[in-house]
Structures are given as structure tokens and as C-alpha cells.
């Protein structure tokens, strides 16, 4: 029997977790900025939010697919290097990237993106690279998939270390504008929490990571955004609501 009551209940259950998590993040931000107001702690909170973003990304992929991805940091690197190349002031780039190929030079040197554009450019570059690697990886399951992602990580690491004309190898990239603010990282975290909870599946029988059989788990899941169509499952514990 599907009444309006169950429908509202399902909607509440869908938005409850992201709402609570976002509220917690805002609470942390308020405590750090309003009560503590110390540079050390606001720096640490920025790092905390940034790491949380990486964990959310990893959780979105590994938590839903059952593939243990060791290679996620490779995409972090792609985003970092792309945004660094495009945001460093032209004057600095002209003497730090002397041996860059001319094709890239004409395109990268004039670019002086602001924080927004740099973030988006880095994200899009990582998205493209991840898509290229993702197409073959999704055909794998279990240990083979994990090792393939590890191979991505190693390949990317070697590429960055050895292609010094573009990445400056093991040297530091000088002059990246430090535009990251705590409020911006907080907004990104909240923006990431919403989709990650929207695509969160509830595996009835989680995929076997070792033997790599996905089994029926893909069918037997109810996504929260489907809760309007599918009647919600009975609450797991009395204290959940």
C-alpha cells in the first residue's frame, strides 16, 4: 500500500544523510572560523576538507562498484598538475618551463586562470584521463581490477617524474597562486556529498572482492533516488529516524 505518507518518508530517508553530513561540515567550519579563529586550525581544516573530497571520490567509485581503486591519487595528480600549469602567472612560467614543447607552450603560457577556472580545468582534465582508463578497467573485477588501478598509479607516477619538460619532474612547481579558502573547500565538500549520497547503492549481497563475482548485487540494490518509485525498505534500527 503506497500512500503519500510512505512517499514522504522515503524522501526524508533519501535526504537525511547528506543533510546531516553537510550540517556537520558547516558546524566544523563555524567552530573553526568563529570560535577558534586561528590560522593553524583553519589551514588544518582546509586540508581536512580537501582530503575528505578525495575520500568521497574514492568512496563513490569503490563503494559502489566493489573495485578497490588504488589509482585514484593518479587522477588527483592530473588535476593538480593541470590546474598548476594553467594558474601559474605567465611571467613565472616563462622561466620555469624552458623546455616545454612549442605546441603546449603557445597554449599554456598565456593562460592565467583564476581559482574557479583552474579548478574546473583540472577537474575536466582528470575526468578525461579517468575516462580513458575507465573504459578498459570496468571490464575487470576483483583482484585484476585492483592491480590494474595500481598499474595506473605507477604509470602516472613515472610519467610525472620523467616528463620534466611539462611537469618539472621531481622539482617543485613554483608560483601556484594560493587561492584556496576554507569556505571554498567547504562548498566543494557539500557539493560532493550530495551526488555521492545520491548514487550510493545499498548492496544486499556485497560483491566478492577476492573472486570478483558481482553476482546479483547490481540488481538487488535500491538507490535512494528511486525511493519514490520503489517502496522503501524497512528501517534497520529504531533509532535511524
Amino acid at each position: 500500500v503506497k500512500g503519500p505518507h510512505t512517499r514522504v518518508e522515503g524522501l526524508l530517508r533519501t535526504i537525511w544523510t547528506p543533510f546531516l553530513l553537510a550540517l556537520l561540515m558547516v558546524a566544523i567550519w563555524l567552530v573553526i572560523t568563529q570560535i577558534v579563529s586561528d590560522v593553524f586550525y583553519s589551514d588544518e581544516a582546509e586540508k581536512y576538507f580537501l582530503r575528505l573530497l578525495i575520500v568521497l571520490a574514492l568512496g563513490m567509485f569503490s563503494g559502489n562498484s566493489g573495485i578497490l581503486s588504488f589509482g585514484q591519487v593518479a587522477f588527483v595528480a592530473v588535476g593538480a598538475y593541470t590546474s598548476a600549469l594553467l594558474t601559474i602567472p605567465t611571467a613565472i612560467k616563462q622561466f620555469t618551463f624552458l623546455s616545454m614543447p612549442h605546441v603546449l607552450k603557445d597554449w599554456v603560457f598565456p593562460a592565467q586562470y583564476n581559482a574557479w577556472e583552474g579548478t574546473l580545468a583540472g577537474g575536466i582534465a582528470a575526468l578525461v584521463v579517468a575516462l580513458v582508463f575507465g573504459v578498459p578497467i570496468v571490464r575487470l573485477i576483483g583482484v585484476a581490477a585492483g592491480i590494474a588501478t595500481l598499474a595506473i598509479l605507477v604509470a602516472m607516477n613515472v610519467f610525472i617524474q620523467q616528463t620534466s619538460s611539462i611537469t618539472r619532474g621531481t622539482s617543485t612547481q613554483i608560483g601556484v597562486p594560493q587561492t584556496t579558502s576554507m569556505r571554498a573547500t567547504l562548498l566543494w565538500v557539500i557539493a560532493a556529498i550530495v551526488p555521492s549520497s545520491a548514487i550510493q547503492t545499498r548492496p544486499v549481497n556485497a560483491p566478492d572482492v577476492v573472486t570478483g563475482t558481482l553476482g546479483s548485487s547490481a540488481k538487488a540494490t535500491i538507490r535512494p533516488w528511486m525511493a519514490h518509485i520503489v517502496p522503501p525498505s524497512p528501517p534497520r534500527s529504531a533509532g535511524a529516524q
Binding site: 578498459p136 592491480i147 590494474a148 604509470a155 613515472v158 620523467q162
Partner: protein, 132 residues
Amino acid sequence: VGVKANWVISSAFAITGFLAAAVTVLYMLNHGDVRPNVGQGPLLVAFVGVVIGGLGSLGGAALGGFTLGLVINLLSATLPRSIQGHTLMFAFLLVILILVFQPNGIMGTVDKLRRKRVPAEVPRVAAEEAPS
């Protein structure tokens, strides 16, 4: 029935630890110096080698190790000097390709080929008993 699984697995783990240490002695005698990060290279090769060979078979592990060693050495011998540093990158991209086409490792495919010789309907055990 009377085998204690926990005990067997932990003693097997201990034996592999002993073997790994024995290998390390030889490896270090070859190298001549010890640093905290000296194990990073062998770690990656061991991990990847065991999986591309095929988990769960001794021959597979050895074959995987040999394959990876062969690939890395062939690449570093044939690549032009300008991209010599990228050897490991090409090797690991090749590993991804091997995994995509041989998800169960090289030994997994060998097993599958071996099983194909036996008629599909007849269970494997029965087919092996038939000649005797």
C-alpha cells in the same frame, strides 16, 4: 577434518615471511646497501607479477614474475634513450592491457585451454579417471 585452518594459514604466512627474508639476503648482498625504501621496486613487481601470472597457482606466480621481468628488460633495452626513463610507465600500461585481455592471469587462460580438451559435458574428474 582435524586440520586447524587458522594454524595452517598463520604458519604458511610465517614460512612465506622466512622465504621472503631469505630472498632479501641474496638481493641485498647483490645490491650492497640497505635503505628504508629499497623494497618499493620489488613490492610493485611482486604484486603485479603474481596477479598477471594467475593467483592460486605456483606456475602462474613464477610465469608472471618472468613475464614482467622480461617486459621491463626488453623495454629498457629497446626504447630510445630520450624516453628511457619512461620504461616503467610503458611496462605498467602493458600490464593493464594484459589484465584486460587475461583477467584471470596467464595461468587462468592456460587452465581454460586445458579444460577445453576435455568434452564439456563430462566432469573433469571422470575424464581423468577414464584412461586408468
